[in-house]
Symmetry: C4
């Protein structure tokens, strides 16, 4: 039901400050409503502790507002491009969390240095290019979505559900709004660990592929044996 999706998106957005992923209004989470196919997203510039379901904005995939009295997040077009291209994406989270953003500002990928990474991201988390002047002048937020889509045409968005935007921040994906926030928390912690790893040992190397396989696959796919037979959600 759409009303339930509004509640879920509200909770997922309220989780951002609790997980120390944002300051002020610097982040937004959305979810695709299964029944209607509409996207529910946070309004622009409203503080998390003031948010109610009445603030949530419901849009169709073309960006037409179906329900809600507020302007949607200024990043809405980026979310919509990803939802349009990848039906398997049900939730999207965008934040400027500190360590992930530092990697984005450094223009560097987050490599798989350990099993914490491998448990959730099946390979390196890429840092995409800065948009060109023409793209920004044409439509900044839509072109941001397009380069994300372009990247995940060549990479599995379910197996590596996150990407950095050079000079900007991070987008994570999931099978729900909550799941995308979960991935943002993991990505931030992995970025922090990797930062420390390379400071301690500039020659540190990613884990071998067979260890990456082992950890990812013991948590995901049909032979997974972690947990109680359901996902972390």
């Amino acid at each position: 039901m759409l009303q339930e999706t509004l509640v879920r998106v509200l909770y997922a957005n309220q989780d951002l400050p609790k997980q120390s992923l944002v300051k002020f209004t610097w982040g937004n989470v959305s979810e695709r409503d299964e029944e209607t196919g509409y996207i529910v997203i946070k309004p622009s510039g409203v503080e998390y502790d003031e948010l109610t379901t009445d603030h949530m904005v419901v849009l169709d995939l073309d960006g037409n507002i179906i329900q809600g009295n507020y302007r949607p997040s200024s990043d809405t077009k980026t979310h919509l491009e990803v939802y349009k291209a990848f039906p398997q994406v049900k939730g999207i989270c965008h934040v400027h969390s500190t360590y992930a953003t530092a990697y984005a500002q450094a223009g560097m990928p987050i490599l798989a240095f350990g099993t914490t990474h491998a448990d959730y991201f099946y390979g390196p988390i890429s840092c995409l290019r800065v948009l060109k002047k023409e793209e920004i002048e044409d439509d900044y937020e839509r072109h941001t979505g397009l380069i994300i889509v372009d990247h995940f045409k060549k990479h599995d968005i379910v197996a590596t559900p996150g990407v950095l935007l050079h000079g900007h921040g991070v987008f994570t994906f999931g099978k729900s709004a909550k799941d995308s926030v979960y991935h943002a928390v993991v990505l931030e912690e992995v970025a922090r660990m990797n930062y420390l790893t390379t400071q301690i040992n500039p020659q540190a190397k990613p884990i071998p592929q067979y260890l990456l396989d082992k950890h990812y696959l013991r948590k995901h796919g049909k032979n997974a044996y972690y947990g109680q037979g359901k996902s972390h959600e």
Copy 2:
């Protein structure tokens, strides 16, 4: 009304420890009362959790105490010089927040490495020179104000509302006491992100001017489209 300004300045000062910008009594916030033109500022050396509106000090721009039984902040003359020179400044915040102060101690500017910076500061945050011995012997706090004024004669204090003082700390500005504290929080987080950015990649470069323009201008000015049609305050 002056009484309301006292309450606003009280709240803005109490926000400093909540935002992790200060320890003990290491910071002060002031605001210009619209009606009277007087400045309301924190008293010197009083703990934030003991502060009431009765502690607040009201001064005219020449530093004459109009109301209040306490000594004003030892940095009062610095605030006054800025208020005198820039009528558009309505609030001033001074703190020794950790990362901003580290940049101030390093004598280095905070460059615009990302859009988090660009959303609030339209260009690099400068680090001003150490005062000369004669300036300190003459009047330390007034000369501190004068070099800030000197700097912002050549830079827009509204578009880049913050500055570092070499070997000292940071001053931020705004359209109210609260707004100046908001900018101090952003500046501290941006300093922290930039620190990590340059540790990860010493060759990291500021974002291109067109991206800086885009992010600053989507939040500020007459074509802004972030938020619900009012500022973040």
Copy 3:
């Protein structure tokens, strides 16, 4: 009594997020029940704030489930190998705490740079090798246990109750579940201090052996004089 051990293991696991050692479900603690010799361990993938004694899993040393309706931690075989090899180990804790994991990802030992380290770890905390492909294909978790056992055949597991696993995380040991968590907290703090130490001074040297002896032995063994005549537990 076995029921008391379940409560102790529950509390020790709940302590992991309180001590900032874990996010989500990333850690597990077990204890050997004195009376029965059984091992009590956390279930796999259950959130710490949902845990009750009913979730705990009781196993014999061969991994047969004696009591409990949940799957045990996916790291159970690692715990069991250590319990089988070292009767003096009564509690085991496994976490991916940030600084310890960074050292593990860097493939570097944690050297004894100070007396904080020496108070609890009588020498460097080693980082073991990455498992081979054949070991992972055969039985990942059991082989992880075996290389830990192999290491502590040559080192005293009571005097240096912790070890890093390259590209993975950390295991700590103790005379109870609680004691193993205590050691994980110390190890994390020592890792953090050592990180800062070597960043400040890349030429920093471990403390001399006689100072290591002094601090370790004033807290441990028959001539200890720290505390009130009982251990820190």
Copy 4:
């Protein structure tokens, strides 16, 4: 009154975890009772949240226990040597706070890079040498006190109320137990800022002497004008 001193020492010790200066039982604070000249100190190895005035130990300057049923802190002899040598010291705090200890482990002094430092410490905070084997074998804690005393025969313990011990931790001093803890908080924050300063700019230089003078003397001595005419305590 001695009973009041016990309460003050209790509160000062309980403040250590609140100020994030310690984990577990890693720190101790003492105060000299004005009336009797006795020293009141924390017992060894008791958790801060279990402490009551009944746990406090009262000793004379020769270390004879005058009152109390618990063993005093294992660092008691160090405190006593300082109290004996410097009558102006009324409170002593010893902690292994993270950044201060990192400097101690690195064997490096904390230089005066900014006015935050200058407001409380009138010059660099020194790092003393590691004790010799013979000193440790003779009487570790007393010799630790003796090298501190030796240092402050050549430096003003009131103007620079803190010192690092190579490979160990930090001691701070004050005109009460509370004041010594205050200095430990400042020293830790200054250590953290200095760490970041030198990471940002390895060529960073201490502030000039005239700025150090200005900041220290506007807070201390007969021409001080910070605060409301009494100290920060």
